[in-house]
């Protein structure tokens, strides 16, 4: 099997190339830009037959993407962080158009303070938009997920746009060996886009995205989109199995790692879950029955799959790379809602916040998380959420503050 070293961004571009995309509305933003630059080069050399237009903002970019999909062509776009938020109004809007397309988000922490490095607050901000979300942990998964995303988005039981998420830097700029599938095989797996009746033709005039008056029709259309998103759970399992028949790599809504006989399970999204895998191996070597569950699908939320994977576990540690100020980790909240009141629900569901703005989560963190969760299991009580931050890191910040002339003891300046 031939493998090529590709960055996550290049893998995303390859996914788009193999999907036979007609149209790419674009806007540059770090760390996504390599994707659109790669596609632009292929267009210049005539390797792909795609039209690319650079818009003046992500708000316009997502509008153009939705409008082109609503006219009946296959559309791809990519953004990151501030760009995703700048286009947020249109994420909600175009999802309601029920015009399927695929948007890649390369996760990056949100301002303020402004930063380039990754966490998941950007993608969680799009959680309720109506876009489905597939989260990737490897460059191979990035490429494969884009092809899967088109099948999922265009399925007549779904008909919703999909975001494929990868972490900035850790995946976007990291080269991994990737098997690039043959385009003929992809063409058989992913047939040409059939826009159905969502399209503009002079011979068949249609009004799309019109206003409604009153809560009745509004609720009807919102419920329709929700039910379609819920359908995507079983559709994803179905096409993930079919993908395995075509390409030898299967994808379910969850990835589980040594979790079957585990007593304590880490739950994590994205590329940092590969760090958790390494920690699981180390903890296992130290005699602890630890495993990992990583959701690939965030929307629809794979509640049933989580219930099955976590049934009978003594404790679960959810490690969120996001922070809902005033509440805590968002994935932890979602998982708690999915598990509460279900048979064999783990009695301890602990919450840890880490990896914000690219902060590493190292083996020592995972060992600490496992120890704290084990103590909670022994005590029979879920501890309050914990913010991962070491004394060394605090010392580093104090040094920066000293350079900046800030005294942390001054009230109102620092906590």
């Amino acid at each position: 099997m031939k493998r090529t070293l590709l960055t996550g961004n290049a893998a995303a571009a390859w996914g788009m190339r193999l999907a036979g995309v007609d149209y790419l509305p674009a806007f540059p933003i770090t760390p996504q830009t390599e994707i659109i630059e790669t596609v632009a080069r292929w267009i210049d050399t005539g390797e792909i037959d795609c039209r690319m237009v650079t818009l003046e903002s992500e708000h316009s970019m997502i509008t153009a993407a939705g409008a082109a999909a609503a006219t009946g062509v296959r559309v791809f776009s990519a953004t990151s962080s501030q760009g995703l938020l700048y286009g947020m109004e249109m994420l909600y809007t175009v999802a309601g158009w029920r015009a399927p397309f695929v948007l890649v988000n390369v996760s990056r922490g949100l301002s303020s303070p402004i930063t380039l490095e990754p966490d998941h607050n950007d993608i969680f901000a799009a959680r309720d938009s109506g876009f489905l979300q597939i989260h990737c942990a490897t460059c191979q998964e990035v490429l494969d997920s884009i092809i899967l995303a088109y099948r999922l988005a265009e399925d007549e039981r779904v008909r919703l746009p999909v975001i494929v998420n990868l972490d900035g830097f850790y995946l976007s700029f990291t080269r991994e060996p990737v098997e690039i599938p043959k385009s003929e095989t992809v063409a058989r797996f992913l047939p040409p886009f059939d826009p159905g009746n969502v399209r503009f033709r002079a011979s068949e005039p249609v009004s799309q995205a019109v206003a409604v008056l009153g809560g009745g029709p509004y609720s009807y259309f919102r419920y329709q989109a929700h039910l379609a998103a819920m359908n995507a759970t079983s559709v994803f399992e179905e096409i993930g199995k079919e993908f395995e028949e075509f390409f030898g790599r299967g994808y379910g809504s969850l990835e589980t790692y040594r979790s079957d006989d585990a007593e304590l399970v880490f739950v994590m999204l994205g590329s940092f879950a590969t760090k958790a895998k390494d920690a699981v191996d180390r903890l296992r070597a130290a005699g602890q029955a630890v495993g990992l569950v990583r959701p690939r699908l965030l929307r629809p939320f794979p509640a049933d799959a989580f219930r099955q994977a976590l049934a009978g576990k003594k404790g679960v540690a959810v490690i969120d790379q996001n922070l809902s100020a005033g509440s805590g980790g968002i994935l932890h909240r979602e998982l708690t809602a999915a598990l509460y009141g279900q048979p064999e629900t783990p009695p301890v569901l602990a919450s840890f916040i880490g990896g914000l703005g690219g902060r590493n989560i190292g083996p020592e963190d995972f060992f600490g998380i496992a120890a704290e969760t084990s103590q909670a299991i022994a005590a029979g009580k879920t501890p309050p959420p914990r913010l991962l931050f070491s004394e060394g890191e605090l010392k580093d910040v104090r040094q920066l503050q000293a350079i900046a002339g800030i005294s942390p003891e001054k009230p109102g300046r620092d906590a």
Binding site: Y23, D49, H59, T71, V73, R201, Q208, V210
Partner: protein, 305 residues
């Protein structure tokens, strides 16, 4: 104008193409202009709309349009036109549709979007040379929300956010000049009350390629505070007083299409509308009236001289 098929009012279409029974206010100057425009453009069009009064033309499951429609959002209708136009071009190039299924992409927004939130998207669409027609119905305020001041509100006008004795303190933005500075294929001002001038301009724009933009002054009975039956009269007075110059930008030059040789005093126009009553009652605000007159005079002197 010799090439036009519209020599006199008798040449205008006898019946309107746009359906009736919409939610627009009685005497809506925007709807008046839209009727005239749609009669010429016809049904092989897709209207890409931004948030405004006209959004309520198409309320599920009704539409007065015989062609297509896409509502986007307040700021990005030109980007919606970009997506639709590009997709149609791709479908034509890849022979997935025939030329008979092609559509004119038409952006329809109010002044709130055109003068403000949507200006960046419009600027970029022109800069990209997008083949589209932009219709701005300019009722000089955020009409759909009760007529608050916008970038299009004229000096001295009372609005829902400027109810004081002097009205709006700012000055109407020159959107025509801003658009024309981008050197698009065509920019024109129109008003529904001058249907022949309007029809000729839409006919001309329809036959052209590239960015084509129209600003239609839209007298607004509810926002401007006058009896709905006065809409045509007020539209004509806007032209005759020189307040609303009818002009077009084409081939790098701006030409006036209707010259008010003997301009009426602006107060003849201002007096017709409740939004300017405070300039005349309880006492005459001579300074503001003179200032408005002087600005109109200065505009025309520039062209007369």
């Amino acid at each position: 104008m010799s090439e036009t098929r519209f020599q006199s009012l008798k040449d205008l279409p006898a019946a309107h193409l746009l359906g009736t029974g919409t939610a627009m206010c009685a005497g809506c100057g925007a709807l008046e202009a839209l009727h005239g425009i749609y009669d010429i453009l016809g049904e092989k069009t897709v209207f890409i709309n931004a948030a405004g009064c006209m959004t309520l033309l198409s309320v599920y499951p009704y539409t007065p349009f015989r062609g297509s429609w896409l509502y986007t959002a307040m700021a990005s209708a030109p980007a919606g036109a970009q997506g639709v136009r590009d997709a149609l071009d791709i479908l034509l190039e890849k022979k997935r549709i025939g030329p008979e299924d092609d559509l004119q992409t038409v952006v329809l927004t109010g002044d709130g979007s055109a003068y403000g939130m949507g200006l960046s998207a419009t600027s970029a669409a022109i800069e990209r040379g997008l083949d589209f027609l932009y219709i701005c119905y300019d009722n000089e305020g955020y009409g759909n929300t009760g007529h608050q001041s916008s970038g299009a509100t004229p000096h001295g006008a009372r609005t829902a956010t400027c109810k004081g004795g002097h009205g709006f303190g700012g000055y109407k933005k020159d959107l025509f000049a801003i658009w024309a500075a981008h050197r698009p294929a065509y920019v024109a001002t129109v008003v529904g009350a001058e249907p022949l001038d309007l029809a000729r301009k839409v006919e001309k724009a329809k036959a052209m390629q590239g960015p084509r933009l129209l600003i239609a002054l839209a007298p607004c009975p509810t926002g401007w505070d006058y009896d709905p039956r006065e809409t045509v009269k007020i539209g004509k007075l806007a032209v005759k007083s020189g307040v609303w110059p009818l002009k077009e930008y084409i081939g790098g030059k701006t030409v006036h299409t209707k010259l008010p040789r003997k301009r009426l005093p602006v107060e003849e126009y201002l007096k017709t509308q409740g939004r300017f009553t405070h300039l005349f009652e309880p006492q005459r605000d001579e300074q503001t009236i003179q200032e408005i007159q002087a600005r109109v005079d200065a505009y025309w002197h520039e062209f007369d001289g």
